[in-house]
Amino acid sequence: MSKPKSILDHQQLQITIHRLCRQLIENHDCFKQTVLIGLQPRGVDLCQKIKQTFETSFNINSLEVGSLDITFYRDDFRRRENPLTVNSTDLNVSLEDKNVILIDDVLFTGRSVRAALDALYDYGRPNSVELLVLIDRRLSRHLPIQPNYVGHTIDVVADERVYVEWGDNERVILKSS
């Protein structure tokens, strides 16, 4: 395996998340009807990071957030070698007439987002749904799905994988398998 290549270092990641927050503020005004939903498992970390940034840097504290597990909606059930791991859904808000922002770390084939849209509608009929991703692998789409908010766009080949790491050493790297 070759050495991992850096896509966003710690500082660049901070700047990117701040920019995404500003873009959300521009479009969602007071966030009164907005719900941020992180996709399990890794979108949830990004969702929490965005919520934290809103609280610490923009003094916006009343955001409604949730997490959504899409395992039962995936189109690769029984097609995979490794069985799917189920995570929990935590949505304590009604989505009826809400503006939903789906959040995931990496947009690859678009199949997870397709499953997420199906799952979302089982909780009510939102007024609108937008998609926010930290990394958009724009040449890898299998479905006609495009994000509304993008942290960083990359062109990579299929056997390369993007890793978003949180914790003390927050960064985004690219590894080839």
Binding site: R78, V86, S88
Partner: protein
């Protein structure tokens, strides 16, 4: 672990401790699903499940059917009383004819011990045993243990007494296997005539005195007398049984602690349990029924996973 170690659910005896925990974990997810505004997920939308009931059932049949519907599977219902079994068709022939209609999974209840196990040797689709004679009823034991876990946080270390017709009860045997695998302490209680001879070899103890058993336990699982399986009279009368082994409010109130009361249904009110106990706050009988759907969804989902496309 995200896959079961077995391909069929024939009995709790064949499950590993990890399998039971995995089923519980997935059932947690499905419990959330069945409490949503839209109580359905599309996981099994390309599968057909046949429910073969060679013996009467209300709860188990409805519960399986609902679980399959909540997973978006297509369903084929079969009950022996209104079928060609009456005309002399064999079990294998009946099942093979159903399989020829492209069925992906089979749920079977049969009055004969080992029916599900026998079928599993002749057909190669996943089979779920929904009760075979006086042998096993694995999904009932799973939902009972799941209900204890929900009530107490865990099953390990809990003291459970199973009261009643242990000799003819598949619920008792599956419950004993399941609770022991989850490291609970188990006692059985009831008339000596309704106790299997070597019951203690399963790691449980026999307590003939109901009050002593109740005083000891955290949970009392009250079983119905299986009259349909009894060839002789094992006790003089229902009244006498109820006097010695029936759970009533007076008995519950004299205990030094609050115990939880369970019953797998159907209840014979006034025999093994009185109405005021069955409908009391200490009873989790209806929670058991709700959990049954989540548990069966989990079992169906996990077994479906083994059928690769």
């Amino acid at each position: 672990m995200s896959e079961l170690s077995v391909r069929n659910l024939l009995g709790i005896k064949h499950l590993q401790n990890e399998d039971i925990h995995l089923i519980f974990k997935i059932a947690d997810n499905f419990k959330e699903v069945i409490n949503r505004p839209i109580r359905k997920v599309p996981s099994l939308r390309d599968m057909t499940v046949a429910n073969l009931f060679f013996e009467n059932s209300t709860r188990t049949k409805l519960s399986f059917e609902l679980a399959e519907k909540r997973l978006s599977a297509d369903i084929l219902n079969f009950s022996a009383s209104s079928s060609s079994v009456k005309k002399g068709e064999t079990l294998i022939d009946t099942v093979n004819n159903i399989l020829a209609m492209k069925v992906d999974m089979l749920v079977i209840r049969h009055p004969n011990v080992g029916a599900a196990s026998f079928l599993s040797k002749h057909i190669n689709i996943p089979i779920i045993n929904a009760g075979d004679g006086a042998h096993e009823h694995p999904t009932q034991a799973l939902l009972d243990a799941y209900s204890i876990r929900e009530k107490f946080g865990e099953v390990e270390g809990k003291k459970v007494v199973i009261v009643g017709d242990i000799l003819h009860s598949r619920v008792a045997l599956s419950n004993i296997f399941c609770l022991k695998k989850l490291n609970a302490e188990v006692k059985v209680c009831g008339p000596t005539t309704l106790m299997p001879k070597y019951i203690e070899s399963l790691g449980v103890t026999y307590e003939p005195n109901l009050m002593k058993a109740l005083e000891w336990c955290d949970v009392a699982n009250m079983l119905r007398i299986q009259l349909e399986r009894q060839d002789i009279n094992y006790f003089p009368s229902n009244k006498e049984y109820s006097t010695l082994y029936g759970l009533n409010k007076e008995r519950l109130d004299t205990l030094s602690k609050h115990i939880t009361v369970m019953h797998p249904g159907p209840i014979n009110r006034g025999v093994e349990i009185t109405s005021d106990v069955a409908d009391s706050k200490q009873s989790i009988i209806l929670e058991q029924v709700e959990n049954g759907v989540a548990i069966r969804m989990a079992v169906l989902y996990l077994l479906a996973n083994s059928i690769k496309k």
